[in-house]
């Protein structure tokens, strides 16, 4: 049992906001270095396209490292347990909208987005969601298609 508590304590140490953000900066730095390796460095007089990105990435990674070390030594605020539902559903909703908007039209994209986004909330009442869809569909059509004259399809093949 003691072992377990020890592991949990050390795990928490690594799951602090600061340590994880330090890792994030190092990660982004590595990505920049990896994808920037083909860019010419140039000289300090005539810098190539790769000079500044590499410089920035290296500084950012050292900052990230420093943040990690300080977080481990001095301890830091633990990261809150994320709630997966809102962020996942909202992201899926937007992606579905993007995929459907040109292929199928505003109406199907709207229905899918509102349905998924409403599921992300605390309460879900089908009647309310349907009402929200109808209102928003009418408003969007009137404002964007009729009012602003945007070149958008409401329903592919129909309008």
């Amino acid at each position: 049992m003691e072992d377990y508590a020890f592991w949990e304590a050390s795990l928490n140490r690594f799951l602090s906001k600061d340590f994880l953000s330090g890792l994030m900066f190092i990660g982004f730095g590595l990505v920049a270095l990896y994808f920037g390796q083909k860019l010419a460095l140039g000289t300090t007089v005539r810098m190539g396209p790769g000079y500044v990105p590499r410089m920035l990435a290296l500084i950012m990674m050292s900052l990230g490292g420093l943040i990690c070390v300080i977080a481990l030594v001095a301890g830091a605020e633990p990261v809150e347990k994320p709630k997966w539902k809102p962020i996942t559903l909202v992201t899926i909703g937007i992606i579905c909208f993007a995929l459907l908007f040109e292929r199928a039209g505003l109406l199907p994209a709207l229905i899918v987005l509102i349905l998924i986004a409403s599921l992300a909330g605390e309460e879900f009442k089908l009647k309310e969601v349907l009402g929200n869809m109808v209102v928003l569909a009418v408003v969007c059509t009137l404002v964007f298609k009729v009012g602003l004259g945007m070149n958008i399809t409401i329903l592919r093949g129909v309008w």
């Binding site: 982004f28 810098m47 000079y51 900052l63 994320p82 809102p86 962020i87 909208f97 605390e122 929200n132």
Partner: protein
């Protein structure tokens, strides 16, 4: 007399029917979104960016400025009535404003805040007019090395005055600078970090980043907190009592002065102004025990300071091209989208835009008093709409807005990606503002850096040899050293305590 010529030019531009309509529309939309609980000016401007995208430059900036003020006013309304601040600056308003509302004095709190804000806005506008020319003339003497140093100072100052870890904020600036480099390199034409996606060759578009990072992430965080409102909202009489008026006038004056001064600082702005004004009033008051229990000064001073600072923070952005906070970074982004590079040339090359925008700031402030006080009933109705209806609707408008930027669903996808990134930032306690500042300054800073090095034949000493650049870099270094001192560290932590 040049001042009056400039102002009359400004008012002639701002008073054209078209620009008046855009100012009004901006104020209305800003209030409409800003009044929604949990949504502050940054998120509001980010989400409404696409609307201004296709307008002529003057109109789009006038509208954006209107959106900004509208969102700030709307935020005060929400803070006073339902105790749900949308931004750090209105956290202070909640302290006493909501207590006043609970005592049935919501109407008085609202009108004092509106009138105080209007007065502060007027003073702020006058200050901009007075300082714009001398500052611009000074900035015209700057060489590439000086500019680079100035931007470094601006970025560091913004970081120092932000809340939270300094190291993390600096790292966020670098991350923003890196994201700003995506696209075609101006000097060599090389493709950097574009992953062969043609849409990325002009750089990542600013609007989807802002919308995702601030708009979407904010909605998601609000969905997690599931905002609940307590009780019914009663506004009551809008007229303050004689006692309330007597106490709030000096508070408004002090708040305006303090806010106007703090707003000009790089890294300053509404939040700093509001917090300092509140602290000052508490110190000056004969009975500080009243604060937090509905003291009228606690609403009047921060609200005035907030608006004065909001105005004067335009000064470094308009004259030097250096944004001092996230809202100004958004304005810079919007100007670049419109093909205007913010900096000292704006005033000399586009005087109609420069002075028109300043004049319209004052007009916008006047409009907001009218929009807010007599129409308060309408905004209160809006506050009663549950979040489960609003969140999907806001998401939908964001998606359509992102699509409308260039009629491409690629932008909608970007919004989704940056929404996730913004969520990660907020979970890890990394602030979005330094990132945004780095992002808008990145391309320019690289350009100036490379030009300075080219002119000095690769000698980095150029930054220390030019007096202006040296002075700016010394200031930057001093700021950083100050931040590392334990006593300052502690004071800074305490200053931001009330925010949490």
């Amino acid at each position: 007399m040049e001042l009056f010529d400039n102002l009359s030019l400004g008012f002639s531009v701002a008073f054209s029917f078209q620009n008046l309509m855009y100012a009004l529309l901006g104020c209305m939309l800003g209030t409409l979104i800003g009044v929604l609980p949990g949504i502050g000016p940054v998120a509001t401007i980010a989400m409404l960016l696409p609307i201004t995208f296709h307008l002529p430059p003057v109109a789009s900036l006038i509208m954006l400025a209107g959106i900004y003020y509208g969102a700030s006013y709307g935020g005060s309304t929400t803070s006073i009535l339902v105790n749900l601040p949308g931004e750090a600056a209105s956290v202070v308003t909640c302290l006493d404003g909501y207590q006043m509302a609970r005592k049935g004095r919501a109407g008085a709190a609202l009108s004092i805040s509106a009138v105080g804000s209007f007065f502060a806005g007027t003073v702020g506008t006058i200050i901009i007019v007075m300082f714009a020319e001398p500052l611009t003339r000074m900035a015209q003497k700057f060489g590439p090395a000086d500019y680079c140093a100035l931007m470094a100072l601006g970025l560091v100052a913004a970081v120092v005055l932000a809340s939270g870890s300094v190291l993390k904020a600096i790292a966020m600036v670098f991350l923003g600078l890196l994201f700003g480099l995506v696209g075609t390199d101006v000097n060599t034409g090389a493709q950097r970090f574009t992953f062969d996606i043609p849409e990325l060759s002009d750089g990542i578009d600013f609007a989807p980043i802002a919308m995702g990072l601030f708009g979407i992430a904010e909605i998601v965080v609000n969905l997690e907190r599931h905002l609940t409102r307590t009780g019914t909202i009663k506004v009551g009489s809008l007229w303050p009592t004689r006692e309330e008026t007597r106490r709030s006038i000096p508070a408004i004056l002090r708040g305006t002065m303090l806010g106007a001064a703090l707003g000009v600082l790089p890294g300053g702005g509404p939040t700093l102004g509001a917090f300092s004004a509140y602290t000052l009033e508490k110190k000056l008051s004969k009975n500080p025990g009243e604060f937090g229990k509905g003291a009228v000064e606690g609403v009047a001073a921060p609200e005035a300071a907030n608006n004065a600072a909001a105005q004067t923070s335009f000064i470094p952005m308009l004259t030097l091209g250096i944004p001092s906070n996230a809202v100004m970074a958004l304005m810079v982004g919007a100007m670049i989208i419109q093909g205007i590079q913010p900096g000292p040339e704006v005033m000399t090359k586009k005087p109609d835009l420069f002075w028109g925008m300043i004049a319209s700031m004052w007009i916008g402030n006047a409009m907001l008093v009218v929009i807010n006080l007599p129409m308060i009933g309408m905004w209160v109705k809006l506050l009663t709409v549950p979040y489960r209806f609003l969140a999907p609707a806001i998401l939908l408008f964001c998606c359509i807005g992102a699509y409308s930027l260039q009629n491409s669903t690629f932008h909608v996808m970007q919004v989704a990606c940056f929404g996730v990134l913004g969520y990660i930032f907020s979970r890890l306690g990394c602030e979005g503002a330094p990132f945004l500042l780095g992002l808008v300054l990145g391309p320019q800073m690289e350009e100036y850096f490379r030009r300075a090095m080219l002119l000095s034949r690769g000698d980095a000493m150029v930054f220390l040899e030019r007096p202006i650049s040296l002075g700016l870099l010394i200031t930057t270094a001093l700021l950083l050293i100050l931040m590392a001192l334990p006593s300052i560290k502690k004071a800074r932590k305490e200053a931001f305590q009330e925010e949490g």
